[in-house]
């Protein structure tokens, strides 16, 4: 029988995959992808908890996460395009202007 732990573990694994992506990617677009992976991982956990505790709050949060992802894409892609026009690349190493 599949329990909550199964879903949470899958969610944790996917989250870690996303984390690895965030850490090793240098291309901003790929970073965005990795972020989406992490968001989706969290959504799985939310839906699973919602199901197993019979409480809709988890699903609500998943909805809001999706809404946030949508806003993030709208703004983030705009920034990416501006960056690309300005620097001709999306590589993070080229954008390190803020050295402390």
């Amino acid at each position: 029988m599949i329990g909550l732990s199964h879903y949470l573990i899958v969610s944790a694994i996917i989250f870690s995959i996303g984390l690895i992506g965030v850490l090793r990617r240098r291309n901003l677009l790929m970073l965005f992808f990795a972020t989406e992976v992490m968001l989706n991982a969290v959504n799985i956990a939310f839906a699973a908890i919602s199901h197993y505790y019979n409480d809709l709050t988890g699903q609500m949060f998943a909805f809001f996460v999706i809404a946030i992802a949508a806003s993030e894409v709208a703004v983030g892609l705009g920034i990416l395009i501006v960056l690309y026009k300005k620097h001709g690349s999306l590589d993070l190493d080229n954008l390190a202007n803020m050295r402390g």
Partner: protein
């Protein structure tokens, strides 16, 4: 009727806001006219309310809204129009209407004309709140409101620079304004404490509820609260030892002196004692202290007025002295007499000040009466007004001052406090003397101003006409005393002379009048023919003490201001710099060092930052896991 209450209350507010709209712009005469009209509307409403109250006897009590509703504390924004407040409303709105019109002429050449009207109307609004509120909280708000407006108006010419005390005893308008404000704050602390005690013990600040609870309170509480409230009254009404600000407040424009520092605001202290009369009648010790202090101040202020050379300061000292009379009456339980004197005094004192304003205007802001004289020729109307007001102040029959002051002196006799009575009688004589010293020095004798190249001229016509109501009232107000007694004693306790006093009343009146007339005669003999300076007298010790206000301002400066400054400096150097600032600096230094040493982490590369973030996240996770295992 309810609408009239709101009109009377808010017309000055509207006027203030309207004038404030033009506060930064050029002088606009219509601002003054609109403000005066609104004040006149307020006055008419008050008058209608007074007539209504006089004919029907209905006390109007309105509740605008719930103001504070927190926990057990319920303070509504309520207003009451009863015999006491309607008297005050009449006095305040009448005098302020006259002063507003007067100011159109007086402030004619001032570039901050509009701003002046805004402040002046704001003051009237605060004063109306003070007198109309049905609870101590509202009274306190008005109390602070008039304080702020007074500060603004005393310091109206804030751009004038500070000078030494020898040159000008009040140093500068802004200094005087600050002095007034700070002294009032000190006194307000007393008042606040009084209010807290009252609220703590009765659970309310509504007048009626508080007074209904008084019989159940212990002696100590009553005495403390009464005394604390009286400290507030002392500050606002400039009683000794908080009196120095009032004379310095003469730095403000003369209409301000007339309205605020003679007729209305300074009487707020007396009003408070009258308003809280149930409390004060239950605390005879405090009441007697009030009476004694009032008598002392009456004499004390009059003595300083004897030798002063500054036209406005003389009137200010006389204000102090008359306030002393009012407190004496209130302290002796004759509340309605105190209120009557308050009203009568407002009329003739405002008139006196406005007259002084005319003189000032004519003399190009010169205030030294030794440099005046013979102004009667050019300023006939002003002479008439000031002479009339001085007669009223001196208490000569049939002027208003005669009736009210005589009643106070009779009260002192009636209560068996013969010492107070004697002092008050002597003071009456002194009052007459200094008033007429001033009139004679200003308007009679040789024209000393000529050597200063001044060409005096009479004030505008409309200003003189506007002053007429005050003159008429100063003349006839006394005859309404019996009707007023019947009216006011509906609310205030009645006060009757004993049989014994009644028999002697003619003699008492004669004694007082004799002193007054004697004072006038003395002044006539000494000054009517011109100024003959008596250097021997002027160099005598007593004269110097009086001229320097008993050296009290100097004492304050020496024993309060200077030590305070020294203590402050010590604290600044020892505590603030070495402990507080050092702590803050060290925190900053630590942060700087930490930042310096960890700066290399900031490569500007988002990837590195993300790595660090992940390290932090993993550490947190591990901590969470370990703590979960431990629990």
């Amino acid at each position: 009727m309810e609408n009239l209450v709101y009109i009377a209350l808010f017309a000055p507010f509207v006027s203030s806001l309207f004038a404030a709209l033009f506060g930064m712009s050029q002088r606009q005469v219509f601002v003054g006219i609109v403000a005066s009209s609104l004040l006149a509307i307020s006055f008419i409403s008050s008058a209608l309310l007074a007539i209504h109250l006089y004919t029907t006897g209905d006390v109007i009590h309105v509740r605008l809204m719930d103001w504070i509703n927190a926990g057990d504390l319920h303070i509504p924004f309520g207003f009451i129009v009863d015999q006491v407040s309607v008297t005050m409303m009449m006095v305040v709105t009448l005098v302020s209407t006259v002063v507003h019109i007067y100011s159109i002429g007086y402030m004619d050449h001032d570039k901050s004309f509009n701003r002046f009207f805004s402040y002046l109307s704001a003051f009237v609004f605060s004063m109306m709140i003070l007198v109309m509120s049905d609870n101590f909280a509202g009274l306190f708000i008005g109390w602070e409101g008039v304080g702020v407006c007074s500060w603004l108006l005393i310091g109206f010419w804030y751009h004038k620079a500070d000078v030494t005390r020898e040159e000008n005893p009040s140093i500068s308008p802004s200094w005087a304004a600050n002095e007034a404000f700070i002294m009032n704050r000190i006194a307000d602390l007393g008042m606040l404490i009084g209010l807290f005690i009252i609220y703590w013990n009765t659970g309310s600040l509504q007048y009626d509820e508080v007074f209904a609870q008084l019989p159940y309170l212990s002696e100590t509480i009553l005495t403390t609260s009464a005394f604390a409230l009286f400290i507030g009254a002392m500050g606002k009404s400039a009683q000794f030892p908080l009196h120095t600000w009032l004379t310095d407040a003469m730095e403000g424009p003369t209409p301000v002196s007339a309205l605020i520092h003679a007729a209305t605001m300074v009487t707020a202290g007396v009003f408070l004692v009258i308003r809280a009369n149930p409390l004060f009648s239950m605390t005879p010790e405090v009441s007697f202290f009030i009476a004694s202090l009032g008598t002392f101040v009456a004499f004390f202020a009059a003595s300083m007025a004897l030798v002063n050379r500054d036209l406005k300061r003389i009137i200010a000292f006389s204000t102090l002295s008359q306030l002393g009379y009012m407190f004496a009456a209130a302290g002796l339980g004759a509340y309605w007499i105190a209120l009557f004197h308050l009203g009568a005094h407002a009329f003739f004192k405002a008139l006196l000040f406005l007259g002084a304003g005319n003189v000032m205007h004519a003399m190009h802001d010169e205030l030294d009466i030794f440099k005046m004289g013979g102004l009667k020729k050019t300023m006939r109307w002003t002479w008439l007004y000031m002479g009339l007001a001085s007669l009223a102040l001196a208490g000569i029959f049939p002027f208003a001052g005669f009736f009210s002051k005589d009643a106070i002196i009779e009260t002192a006799f009636n209560e068996g406090t013969y010492v107070l009575w004697a002092i008050l009688v002597i003071t009456a004589g002194m009052t007459a003397f200094y008033s007429f010293r001033q009139v004679f020095l200003t308007f009679h004798g040789d024209e000393r101003y000529k050597e200063f190249g001044i060409h005096p001229h009479e004030m505008y016509k409309y200003v003189l006409i506007a002053m007429a109501p005050l003159a008429i009232l100063a003349l006839v107000a006394g005859f309404g005393m019996h009707q007023y007694e019947a009216f006011i004693t509906n609310l205030l306790p009645e006060y009757h002379m004993s049989e014994h006093t009644h028999h002697l009343v003619v003699w008492l009146t004669l004694i007082v009048s004799a002193f007054a007339i004697g004072g006038i005669l003395l002044a006539y003999v000494k000054y009517a023919k011109g100024l003959k300076r008596d250097t021997k007298l002027e160099n005598s010790f007593a004269y110097k003490v009086l001229a320097n206000q008993y050296y009290i301002p100097q004492l304050y400066e020496e024993f309060i201001t200077k030590p305070y400054k020294i203590v402050s400096e010590i604290f600044w150097e020892k505590v603030d710099l070495k402990i507080v600032d050092a702590t803050v600096d060290n925190i900053a230094k630590t942060l700087y060092k930490t930042g310096d040493s960890t700066r290399s982490m900031q490569t500007g590369n988002l990837s590195n930052y993300l790595n660090w973030m992940a390290v932090g996240g993993v550490v947190l996770l591990v901590i969470a896991a370990i703590s979960a295992m431990l629990v």
